[in-house]
Assembly symmetry: C2
Homo-oligomer: 366 residues x 2
Amino acid sequence: MSVQNDQTKAGAGSTVISVDAMGGDRGPAAVVAGISLSAKKNPDIGFILHGPKDELEKLVAKRKPLLGRVQIRDAQDVVLMTDKPSNVMRHGKATSMWSAVDSVRAGDADVCVSCGNTGALMALSMIRLRKLPGVNRPAIAILWPSRNPQGFNVMLDVGADIRADEQDLLQYAMMGASYARNGLALARPRIGLLNVGTEENKGRAELKAAHDLIAAAAPNGNFDFVGFVEGGDIPGRKCDVIVTDGFTGNIALKTGEGTASLIGDLMKEAFKYSPLSRLAAVLAYTSLQRLKKRIDPRRVNGGVFLGLNGTVVKSHGSADATGVAAAVKLAFQLSQTGFSQKLAARVASATAQAKNAGTDQAESSD
Amino acid sequence: MSVQNDQTKAGAGSTVISVDAMGGDRGPAAVVAGISLSAKKNPDIGFILHGPKDELEKLVAKRKPLLGRVQIRDAQDVVLMTDKPSNVMRHGKATSMWSAVDSVRAGDADVCVSCGNTGALMALSMIRLRKLPGVNRPAIAILWPSRNPQGFNVMLDVGADIRADEQDLLQYAMMGASYARNGLALARPRIGLLNVGTEENKGRAELKAAHDLIAAAAPNGNFDFVGFVEGGDIPGRKCDVIVTDGFTGNIALKTGEGTASLIGDLMKEAFKYSPLSRLAAVLAYTSLQRLKKRIDPRRVNGGVFLGLNGTVVKSHGSADATGVAAAVKLAFQLSQTGFSQKLAARVASATAQAKNAGTDQAESSD
C-alpha cells in the first residue's frame, strides 16, 4: 500500500482536502492548476495530493500559490475510466484514488476529491470508509441550477445505485436535507419526491410507501415535505431537494446537461447567422457570460457521496482547472461545517428512533 | 352517446382529422384558432370538431379559412384535467373527447387530436380503439429537438404506462422505428435503449434482456440498433429513436422542458441587465427568434399514442393556436403516410414471426 501513515496536516491551511491528482480526462496538470486556483482564493485550505511523486512535485513547484501548502503522497498506479470497479477493489491498493480515500479513512482529511472513474470511486469509498451505521445504500447528490433564491437545488441519488426501496428513499431525504443545510445554508430545506405526477395515487408502489415514510419523518426531521414533484420541478422553486432512485436521477441529470448543451450550441449558431447578429453577440457578450456563469456545470462541479464515514466529492471526469477548483470549494465548505459528523449523528439518531418508534424517524439536530 | 354515425367526410379536404375542441387549458377558442391556421396553410385538410354545437358554430363562423371545411359533432360534456380516467371511462360517453376518439373508431377520420387530460385520453383510446393484436402496452411517443439532421429525435414511452418489461421495450423499438420512418421520413432509423451507461453489463435486468431482443430484431426490422444510450443522447446525434419505460421517459421529458424553460428565462434576465445588454437584445432579436423557433415546444407539439387501432395525437394542455396547428400538422402527416395501417401490419407480422421463430421478431415491410 502506497499510503504513508503520516498524520501531519498539509501545509499552512487549517482545513485539509485530500485530492486524487490522477484519473481525470485532462490529467494531473488540470488538477494541480485547479487546486492552485483554490489556494489563491482561500488561504485556509491545505492539500494532500495523491499520485506519482516526481510528476506531481514538478507540477506543484510551478504554482506559487501552492508553496508550502501541499503534501504529496506517492501513488504510482492510476485508476482508468475503463477499469471495472471490482478489479480496482481487488488490485487497486497502489492507485492514487485508493490513497486519496485512505487519507479520509485515516483522519488526515475530512473530505476527498477525485475526477476519476465514478464506479471505482464509489466502490473504494464503500470498502475503505464503510457505510454509516443504519445506511443501506449510499447516494450521490449533485447541485442543479434552479429558480430558488439559493440558485441551486440538490438532487439525489444520481447514480450510486440503480435501485432504491422506500427505506432507501427515506434515508436519501434525510441525507439530502442535511446536505442542503450544510452545503446551501438552508435552515429548513423543502424535500420533494420525484414522480410522474403530483397526485398521491400516482407512480410505483415504493414511491407511495416512501411518500408516507418521508411525510411522517418531516415534523421531527428539520425539513418540510412538499410531496411528489415532477421533472420540471428539478430546476424549479417548489422544493430545494429532489429525492429519487439512482437510475432515474442519472437519466434526469444527463438529460438536463444534454439539453443545456444543445441550447448553448444553438445559441452560438444563432449569433453567427448574419453580420447584425454577430454585432449583437459582441454587445451581448457580458450578458451572455453572466448567463453562462449562472448555468455553467463546471461551477457546480461535484457530486457528493453521502452515507459513508467521511465525505467524497466526485468531480466531473472532464473537469478543467475551474471545475476542479469548484469541487475543492464544495469540499472545503462541507469540511468547515463539520458535515460528515453531523450527517453521521443524524442518521444514527434516526436509526435509533426508528428502532424504538416505528415511523418516527428523525430528531431536530443538524 | 353523442356521436352521430355520419360517415360523410368533413368539408372539402381529402384528409379528415378528428379534433376534440374542449378540455385544453385555453378552451375551444384556442383550438378553433389553431385549426383555422392549419386550414389556411393546407388546403387538403378537413375537420370533424367535437364539443357543444352552439358554442363551436359561433367560433367557427368567425374564421374564414374554416368555411365549408368543418363538420361539428355535438358533445355537451367536457373531460376536466382533474377527472379520473376510470370515471371518464364509465361516465364519459357524452364528452367531446369520447366523441373525438369514436370518429377514428368509426373510420370517419384516421387520426384524432386532443389537448385534454392525458390519462383520460389514453384510457378512452384503449377501450374505444383497442390495442393492436400483439401489443401489450401502448406507448406515447414525442419529438425532441436534437442535433440530428432531421432536427428531432423520437422518444417513447413518455408516460402511457409506468412499467415496461423487455417484450414491451422491444415493441416500443419497433413502433418507434415505424413512427420515425413515417413522421420523420427516415428510411432506416437508429434505435437506442436508454440506460445509465453504455456498457452492456449496466442497468436493470429487463434492460439487458431488452438489449438482446432488440439487437436480434434489428436486421429484419428495417432499423439499426446502437445499443444503450444515456440521457445526454436524447437531444444528441447518436440515435434517432430513444426507447425507455414510461416512468423514466416522463421524468426525462419534463426535466428537459424545465431546463430549457429555466435557460430561456435566465437569458431574458441577462438581456435586461444593462442599457448595453438591452441594445444587444434588440439587435439579436431575429437571431433569438430563430433559436426560439428551433426549440419552441409548441412547434413539436404532440405526443402520439402508438399501439392502438388508430392514431391519437395528444397536444399539450396549454397549447395555443400555434401549438394546436402543430399537432394538426403532425396528425395530417401521419394520415398521409397511412401510418396507422403500416404500424398495424408491422406489429402483426412481427407477432406472427415471433410465434414461429422465437426471437426473430420483424420483417422488412414499413
